[in-house]
Amino acid sequence: MMNNSMLKWMAALIFALPMQVFAEVVVVVSMDSPVTGLSESQLRQLYLEGSGRVDGISVRALDLPEGAKVREDFYQKAVGKTPAQMKGYWARMIFTGRGAPPRMVSGNRAMQVMLDNNPEMVGYLPANQVGDKLKVLRTLD
């Protein structure tokens, strides 16, 4: 009986572990980027405006595709908004000429390539997909 429940716990742990790793989202830029840090409010503002300045440096935000779980997690943690709220928010911003949403890339690898090639861009990735070409500015968990 005891063994049985321990087995169940272990099974649960095995399933839970990769999910926890997956849930950790990091904000990244190219190793060549002059940006060295990003505060919580700077990150929120950047993703609510699509582009902006961080310590006087012009930066542009990049997004993962709509429907990507990492994107959903990122917005919940960084901006505190659901995908539906963000879609409505951008409809209001775009059509009042107040801004353009972050440019969308096709996936994690495209995010890596874009960031590495464009030091003025800021993006986010699952923590286990950063690679050695990018540097982590913030960890969201």
């Binding site: 709509e66 659901t82 709220q85 879609k87 409809a91 059509f95 009042t96 690898r109 890596q112 464009n118």
Partner: protein, 435 residues
């Protein structure tokens, strides 16, 4: 060097496919990316699509009301006698596919780091989709957080005014008429200045607007131009987490020469009623609105009140609403209570001019309403919505002006007679998309 770099990335991309199984690339995709890298197409400085973007919105809607009664009266008092009652001058008890359908197309061009240009065209079904310019401006960043825009802008009269045609941006099929019908103009030719700043964790957009407007009206078959001069206003939108608040104050001088309406009567062989005496000459108009919105992602609530006072025979009017809803997956049921009332036309009612007092009485609007609706998000960027708006308390003795219109936002009772149904309902269905 470029080729070497591309090959390196190609190898890395190919390798990564095995590691990240949730996002497998195809060989074609990798080849495309390598080609793009070789041509430098991923560099934003050389890609024109980074400078120009095209967006649009489209709403296809159907609407009708349930007042199956024809208007009374007779010409020349009511030229629509014998025809169905209208809601907001347009909707009848017959299904309309045009009245609330509309399409908008917007082009944004980034000219340089500080300057951009935006043009937005709107075609309304009820205008046979003839395009009109809603936005056309140059945006220049004067300082970090301070932007100047000049050209044609949408008026910031109320909380949702500047995106009132973008159906996808709100949960109703149409914004509550109690507030959004008060000011009959939606664009201004002029400029605005917007300052973004933060106080602690609250972010603010403080905006000032200045300009003029000329709105041609052809309601009676002859052109009348409503002129707004020295249109100046200030508004503040503040966001704190899930809460947003809105304040606005606008001021203008309004003029309208109505003598052409007398000519129209003369051409019909009818005695001119003396519309010239009701012309508006630089009347001071003041608009105010206050609103808030709370949205935590599933539950939302918003409320707003707007006032318009015009120093002429046009009665002062206010309107407001409270709306709440809950997102359950892709479904958002919502309920809204609204109210509108008019007052302050005493001067026009007592000036001994039967025409101005008649205009004042027929432009009085009183009524309350309940709107029940549901929004269903079909996919990201497209929704389908339906709602029913039921009016009440339009025609009771509480109205403070004897002889005033008691049909609310329907054809005025002063011209068409009273609607027998005390609780008329307006139905609306729409499909909205943004792209």
């Amino acid at each position: 060097m470029q080729l070497y770099r591309s090959m390196f990335w190609g190898a890395l991309l190919a390798g990564s496919s095995a590691l990240y199984a949730e996002d497998p690339p195809s060989l074609n995709e990798i080849e495309k990316r390598i080609a793009q890298l070789e041509q430098g197409n991923l560099e934003p400085q050389t890609n024109w699509t980074d400078q120009i973007s095209i967006n649009g919105y489209l709403s296809y809607g159907i609407t009708r009301h349930d007042v199956h009664q024809d208007q009374g009266g007779a010409p020349p008092v009511n030229f629509q006698a014998g025809q169905p009652y209208t809601f907001r001058n347009r909707v009848t008890d017959e299904i309309s596919h045009r009245d609330i359908s509309r399409v908008g197309l917007q082009i944004n061009a980034e000219i340089n780091d500080k300057t951009s240009a935006v043009v937005q065209l709107l075609g309304r079904g009820r205008d046979n989709y003839d395009a009109e310019v809603q936005w056309a401006f140059i945006d220049y960043e004067l300082l970090e957080g301070l932007n100047w825009r000049g050209g044609r802008l949408m008026l910031p009269n109320s909380m949702h005014s500047q995106y009132l045609n973008v159906g996808y941006a709100y949960h109703w099929v149409e914004l509550p008429g109690e507030v959004y019908d008060i000011v009959p103009f939606d664009t201004i030719d002029g400029m605005d200045l917007t300052l973004k700043f933060n106080t602690g964790s609250i972010s603010h957009d403080l905006s000032a607007v200045y300009g003029s407007l000329d709105v041609p009206d052809n309601t009676f078959g002859v052109p009348v131009i409503y002129e707004g001069r020295d249109y100046g206003g200030i508004n503040l939108r503040s966001r704190w987490g899930d809460l947003m608040t809105w304040f606005s104050y606008n001021h203008a001088r309004l003029s309208a020469d109505l003598s052409s309406l007398d000519l129209a009567f003369a051409m019909l062989g009818l005695p001119p009623p003396g519309f010239a005496s009701a012309s508006i000459d630089e009347a001071v108009a003041i608009g105010r609105s206050v609103g808030f919105q709370y949205d935590n992602g599933s539950f939302f609530m918003m409320a707003e009140r707007a006032d318009l006072d015009i120093d002429a025979w046009y009665p002062n009017r206010w309107g407001g609403y409270v709306s709440t809803g809950y997102r359950i997956g892709k479904w958002t049921p919502h309920v809204t209570w609204g109210a509108a009332n008019t007052h302050g036309a005493a001067d026009a009612l007592n000036d001994g001019n039967p025409l101005t007092s008649g205009l004042a009485l027929s432009n009085m609007v009183r009524g309350k309403s309940w709107t029940l609706g549901v929004r269903h998000d079909l996919a990201s960027g497209i929704d389908v919505k339906l709602e029913a708006k039921r009016f009440y308390d339009m025609s009771n003795e509480k109205f403070d002006s004897v002889g005033a219109n008691t049909n609310g936002m329907f054809s005025p009772s002063t011209l068409a007679g009273e609607i027998e149904d005390e609780n008329p309902v307006v139905y609306r269905i729409s499909v909205d998309a943004v792209f």
